[in-house]
Symmetry: C2
Subunit: 125 residues, 2 copies
DNA sequence: TATTGACTTGGCGCTAACTCCAGGTGATAG
DNA sequence: CTATCACCTGGAGTTAGCGCCAAGTCAATA
């Protein structure tokens, strides 16, 4: 697939794909004889995975580290698992935090319900 | 309270507090005769609220908008409520998104469990 | 009176993660 | 043959949200 096709499919810009390649997040993308990028199925799966993890707030730096470990082979499986576990913990903590804030926001919105009733009551007079 | 006291109490830097004031997020902070900031109880509640909403990912820009509405009085209550409802929706969506990613990460980690068992099995031989 | 030490302002610097641009190349359509 | 068009590279620019620093002021202490 060309860079434009991949970009469209996964809703990223070609610039972002080139950027990811430059920093080592998407290494080994094949080229045609003319030097044009030709993304494989595997590359696409990586793009999808990266998009997913990025949207979870995982930093590009961490993902670069993960990709680097992956390309060093089986011996890095424990290290990769450790990285994933850390990320999971962060996501769990983040969900907890957001739930707490959500509760607070709901409470605040209850207050607004009341105040709006008062306000509208005053308008009637 | 002085800026240093507020900063320590809410775990922000004095620079951040001055920054918030500059952009209109923390308006009307009183000053002593010498020109030194003197935070009121109300100011402190705002700082705490801002910290909370910022940690939920609400942008500084949105908070400035909310604060501006607040200072325009009761007539902006519906508008403020609308802002809060929008923020709630975003947080709910974010929690949903994170839960989905968490599920995927758990699934991936299951795969790592298996692979690590294989790997260790191979080491024994 | 002189020296701290916390505070003041204005403004430049910094990081992450892109985003854009100029100038150049290769394949294809007319 | 040339003109278009998508792609290439290297590098500079952008945005949010602060952080840092110099130079100056003020109140309290030695």
């Amino acid at each position: 697939m060309t860079i434009a096709e991949v970009a469209k499919k996964f809703e990223v810009t070609p610039d972002t794909l080139r950027y990811y390649e430059r920093i080592g997040l998407l290494p080994n993308v094949a080229r045609t004889s003319g030097g044009i990028r030709d993304y494989s199925e595997s590359d696409c799966r990586w793009v999808e995975y990266i998009k997913c993890m990025r949207s979870a707030g995982v930093s590009v730096e961490t993902l670069v580290e993960y990709v680097a470990l992956f390309h060093r082979g089986k011996e890095t499986i424990p290290a990769r698992k450790k990285l994933l576990l850390e990320q999971r913990e962060q996501i769990v903590a983040r969900i907890q935090e957001l739930n707490d804030i959500l509760a607070r926001l709901n409470w605040k919105l209850d207050g607004y319900e009341e105040r709006m009733l008062h306000y509208e009551e005053n308008l009637k007079q």
